[in-house]
């Protein structure tokens, strides 16, 4: 029993050790909300640069920032808001100043088919509904709270999800009746979006930057230039992002 276990562990270690081979690789930490758009952009970048392998590390912007500040070997950071990027700037962890490459706004998301029959932001105050927001520490959570404050709604919250993908998954599965997410998320997930009154809605800028400790700084510069190019803007637009 233990012998077999030991062999398993050794095999696992051997497989792990063989992982990091030759092709030039680039590690990009990107906000969870950029998910599908960045997968496509990375594919396009790899096609345009044969032999380059882009590794995407998605997560809540603030967790990504913490990873960077703890010294994770990351080349490029794309954050879902300027405040999170500012934390990285303040720590002196950037190689160049951040550039805004995309814009997003918020929307009320309900399960596809809207079985919970939520129609407006005011319904979120109903304690009988299951309402989720992102955790206040991640941009989608703080933006959602700004929207609620602008609308003067005190939501009856049932869960604060660690990132927007986790929140969307629970709305899509119908476990939550509604949540406030990015406009760009509506196409990707099994949710319907109810647009918010522009008077109370908020927008967020997505900045991108090369990190000071980037293992592949030249490649990182090229990737950032690529994200700012017309081709990438088109991909971002397809996924519901505005561009500056």
């Amino acid at each position: 029993m233990t012998g077999r276990l030991a062999i398993l562990v050794l095999v696992a270690l051997a497989i792990g050790a063989c992982g990091g081979d030759e092709p030039e690789s680039l590690v990009v930490s990107a906000a969870a909300s950029l998910g599908d758009a960045f997968v496509e952009i990375a594919d396009a970048f790899e096609t345009a640069n044969p032999g380059v392998d882009v590794e995407l590390n998605f997560g809540g912007s603030s967790s990504l920032r913490e990873q960077i500040l703890e010294g994770a070997r990351i080349d490029v950071f794309a954050s879902a808001d300027v405040a999170t990027m500012d934390g990285v700037v303040a720590a002196g962890a950037l190689a160049s100043s951040p550039v805004v490459f995309a814009r997003n706004s918020m929307v009320l998301a309900v399960p596809q088919g809207d079985r919970g029959s939520i129609t407006s932001l005011e319904d979120l105050a109903d304690p009988a509904r299951f309402v989720g927001l992102c955790n206040p520490e991640v941009p989608c959570g703080s933006l959602a709270r700004q929207v609620l404050a602008n609308a003067g709604v005190v939501a009856s919250i049932d869960t604060e999800e660690p990132d927007v993908r986790a929140l969307l998954a629970k709305i899509g599965a119908g476990e939550l009746d509604a949540g406030i997410v990015y406009s760009s998320d509506i196409d990707a997930a099994d949710v319907d979006g109810i647009p918010l009154d522009p008077a109370i809605n908020v927008t967020t800028d997505y900045p991108i930057a090369v990190l000071a400790g980037a293992p592949s700084p030249d490649l990182a510069d090229r990737f950032v230039a690529f994200v700012l190019s017309a081709g990438a803007r088109e991909i971002l637009a397809e996924h519901g992002f505005g561009t500056p």
């Binding site: 603030s62 913490e66 955790n135 206040p136 869960t159 999800e161 660690p162 986790a166 629970k170 476990e175």
Partner: protein, 268 residues
């Protein structure tokens, strides 16, 4: 063989063994050193006193003990059946019971959601019949913790039952002990060490549970935000609180594990 055995008892352990053991220990000690090195000692008491910490600690203790109790209630009979009853497909059943040990907890949480969520296979009829919803509730946290932790109890108790010489039970039965009496007076006391270690492992796993909880039960302070979830949230905003909470978890777990081990083995 006997020569080796004698030597091992009287002389120093082989150097290689000590070196490897020390390296192995290092893996467990280093993260603790890292944690202690970052600890804001002067602010510790005020960090422990904040609402997030106290409510997360309370919730963690309540849910981990509830999960341990549920695991004992269902896990001991399960272990007994697996150890003592021959039935077709027993290995498969054992495999299913032990699955949460290898499954990523997030997968377990998602599976629980598909089964017991408001739109789940069982959860939907339950909801329409009673209005009862497990996700986003403290009961959901207990269920998620029971799901990931109970296999530890089943595993250790089943091993204990298998190692128990059935002649003791046979003797007790021949002296006129009914099945329950034998179970209560002979079987359970004789497997007490396995039962106790199983309970401790189960409790420790339940206390540390994160993935299945956040996936199935969500995260809301006071209702579903246990210590591990509070640490995860605090890491993103308030590192001192995160470290204080982590330290609290280390202290609570270590105290219980060491105290209980000393008690049933009588060694330090």
């Amino acid at each position: 063989m006997t020569v080796n055995g004698r030597r091992r008892r009287t002389q120093q352990p082989p150097l290689l063994m000590v070196v490897l053991a020390t390296a192995g220990l290092g893996l467990f000690v280093l993260p603790l050193v890292g944690l202690l090195g970052r600890t804001p000692w002067s602010e510790l008491t005020s960090l422990f006193g904040n609402d997030t910490a106290t409510s997360a600690l309370r919730l963690s203790l309540v849910t981990s003990f509830a999960a341990t109790a549920l695991s004992a209630l269902f896990g001991v009979p399960l272990a007994w059946v697996l150890a003592r009853v021959e039935f077709p497909g027993r290995s498969l059943v054992r495999g299913i019971v032990l699955l949460p040990l290898v499954l990523p907890p997030v997968v377990g949480g998602a599976a629980l959601l598909f089964a017991l969520g408001r739109r789940g296979v069982i959860g939907e009829p339950l909801y329409s019949a009673t209005g009862f919803v497990l996700p986003f509730s403290t009961s959901g946290v207990v269920l998620a913790a029971t799901f990931v932790a109970m296999p530890f109890l089943v595993l250790t108790v089943e091993a204990g039952l298998r190692n128990l010489d059935p002649r003791y039970e046979a003797a007790a039965a021949s002296l006129g002990g009914g099945r329950w009496t034998v179970l209560r007076r002979v079987t359970l006391p004789m497997i007490a060490p396995s039962l106790l270690s199983g309970l401790v492992l189960t409790w420790a796993r339940a206390l540390g549970e994160f993935g299945a909880t956040v996936t199935f039960a969500g995260n809301l302070p006071g209702t579903t935000q246990t210590l591990p979830l509070a640490v995860f949230v605090a890491l993103e905003s308030d590192r001192d609180t995160a470290i204080a909470l982590s330290l609290l978890m280390v202290a609570v777990s270590l105290t219980v594990i060491v105290a209980l081990r000393d008690r049933w083995w009588g060694t330090g």
